[in-house]
Amino acid sequence: MKTSRWLLVGFALMTAGGLSALAGGGGAPVTPPTPPRPAITPAPAPVKPRAPTTPATTAASAATSTTTSTSAAITAVAPTLPVNPLIEHPGWTLAAACFACHGLDGKDETFGALNVFSAEDFIDRMNELKTTEAENEGLMKPHSVGYTDEQIKLLADYFSQVE
């Protein structure tokens, strides 16, 4: 099951408990708030379809830049940035550290995509890693024991919501 129950409980509390007034600044009159964006997407299949691996951009693209002797803007374009609906997720910063090896939003398969896990499976996997003796899995062992349980829950919730 992909739904992480703890977070559902948390948001149920917020909506039921009038937390919006608190969040809006204490005793301020309560404007009907926009309901919090549901943090949990409906549970699809336990294992999500895998995202394509981005090809390596390495030295090939390096050859295209220019050399100038004074300061010069290489490019000043305004592309549309990718919209990340999870950017305000409390686990984003923790998750971002994982992107170094697992790719943006954990979608790269080279070291195993992270967005294929349900929250529960993610937590189970991290628990398995805590006791692994396998050499290659060993690299992940410090990550499984170095985070608190709450941090692992946040990571699990984040990656389980990445499409």
């Binding site: 926009t34 390596a56 390495t58």
Partner: protein, 426 residues
């Protein structure tokens, strides 16, 4: 229900106080976002496009969104990766394979990349001056200039670009050192001198000794490496390197502990140290270092007269509000993956600060790093650091290293390197 009641209620349901706090934060952000723009407006200038600066620029845009203007100022047209540059010394990588352009950061994330040199900061006017006279205004400034290296007594910094390359910044010095190795006589001696901690890439001097040692074994009969280590003990991956220096490399690499350099005599090619004098055909001094020049010039150095002290929640200077320092110039450990992790935490903190919010209370640093050992072996090192309220710094919460150098690690090292560089430059 007030904050305390919520936390107590949550606690009764098995949700910890910390998690409840973060849920509160989320609710607040979401409520705010219903009334105000969720993104942030303003200008951030990043000076220095190494691992820290490039990652910071990209993640500021990812985190801050369209309205956060990010300018990246970098002296060089391309980044030359220090990571993997020891493999240029044994011919397994070429210098062009370590080049990474800034064009992807501009094209994919709308970062305004300026090739130029930041030479001064006016903290009152909130502007950065470039070498060509141009002035860039900022709301928040990020300085990530890397390191400045000190010449040992007997040498000048000009010697680094001549007969005594340190090659601790990848570039022409790396090629120079490679050529010196190619020209080394059989039976010759390579002296590598490692500085006292802290320095960039703690495994680096041992890695370099090992990579060169293995190369000498195959290519220069009778030649050897003398590693003059200013530190009493091997500072990281100790079992791995002790195993090598007492095993495969026993007749090739000699590590001299606690060998602090007193002087280098270029005429006789002698390195005088607290542990004796050593003569070499090649002298590769990895010099002590300090914060980059622009950080020094902005008077941000306040730790050990070398480093910029920063608040680890935000990497904001402790002496200059609005100016952040990230990467090798701070009091924190100095590696590429550490800098990447710092930069992401900082990007989040800057966005929060620009919205009038506090940075996250308990930042975490995560690193994973492969170490080349020879032309086909590598090891790895990884750790997690948690915020420590007592020291207001980081405390190691876990660490691990490879069981032993292996070919599998060597192969995975390149996957790791590609992923890491993609994360920072593409």
């Amino acid at each position: 229900m007030n904050r305390r009641e919520f936390i107590q209620y949550a606690s009764a349901l098995g949700i910890s106080a910390a998690l409840a706090e973060s849920l509160l934060g989320t609710a607040r952000a979401q409520t705010n976002s219903a009334h105000a723009t969720p993104s942030v407006s303003g200008r951030v200038v990043v000076v220095g496009g190494g691992m820290a600066g490039a990652t910071a620029a990209k993640y500021l845009r990812l985190r801050g969104g369209e309205k956060l203007q990010v300018t990246l100022v970098e002296r060089m047209p391309k980044y030359l990766s220090h990571t993997m540059s020891n493999l240029v010394l044994n011919g397994r990588r070429t210098m062009p394979s370590l080049e990474f352009a800034y064009t992807d950061l501009a094209r994919n994330y709308g970062i305004n990349v300026i090739q130029g040199e930041g030479v001064g900061v006016d903290a009152n006017a909130r502007t950065v001056k470039l070498a060509d006279g141009k002035t860039l205004p900022y709301d928040r400034l990020v300085l990530s200039p890397g390191l400045q290296f000190d010449a040992p007594p007997g040498l000048t910094t000009a010697d680094f670009n001549g007969k005594f390359p340190h090659a601790w910044d990848a570039g022409p010095q790396t090629t120079n050192l490679r050529n010196q190795l190619l020209n080394l006589r059989d039976g010759g001696t390579v002296i590598i001198a490692s500085p006292p901690m802290p320095y960039r890439c703690p495994p680096g001097p041992y890695e370099r000794s090992s990579v060169i040692g293995h190369w000498l074994l195959k290519n220069k009969p009778g030649a050897k490496v003398i590693l003059l280590d200013a530190n009493p003990k091997i500072v990281v991956e100790e079992p791995i390197f002790t195993g090598l220096f007492e095993g495969t490399l026993k007749d090739v690499v000699t590590r001299v502990p606690s060998a602090a350099i007193k002087e280098v005599d270029p005429a006789t090619m002698t390195v005088k140290t607290s542990a004796g004098d050593f003569k070499g055909d090649i002298i590769n001094i990895i010099p002590p270092s300090r914060a980059g020049k622009i950080v020094q010039d902005a008077s941000l150095v306040n730790v050990s007269e070398r480093w910029a002290g920063v608040d680890v929640h935000s990497m904001e200077s402790k002496v200059a509000p609005g100016i952040h320092v990230v990467g090798d110039s701070t009091q924190l450990p100095k590696t590429g993956t550490y800098a990447s992790s710092e930069a992401k935490n900082m990007a989040d903190a800057i966005v929060r600060l620009m919205r009038g919010q506090e940075p996250l209370p308990s930042p975490v640093i995560t690193t994973a790093c492969y170490t080349p050992i020879s032309e086909d072996l590598a090891s790895w090192l990884t750790f997690v650091q948690q915020y420590d309220p007592e020291t207001k710094g980081f405390k190691q919460s876990s660490t691990g290293m490879a069981h032993e150098p292996s070919q599998v690690n060597y192969k995975r090292m390149f996957d790791w390197f590609d992923a890491l560089m993609r994360d920072s430059f593409a």
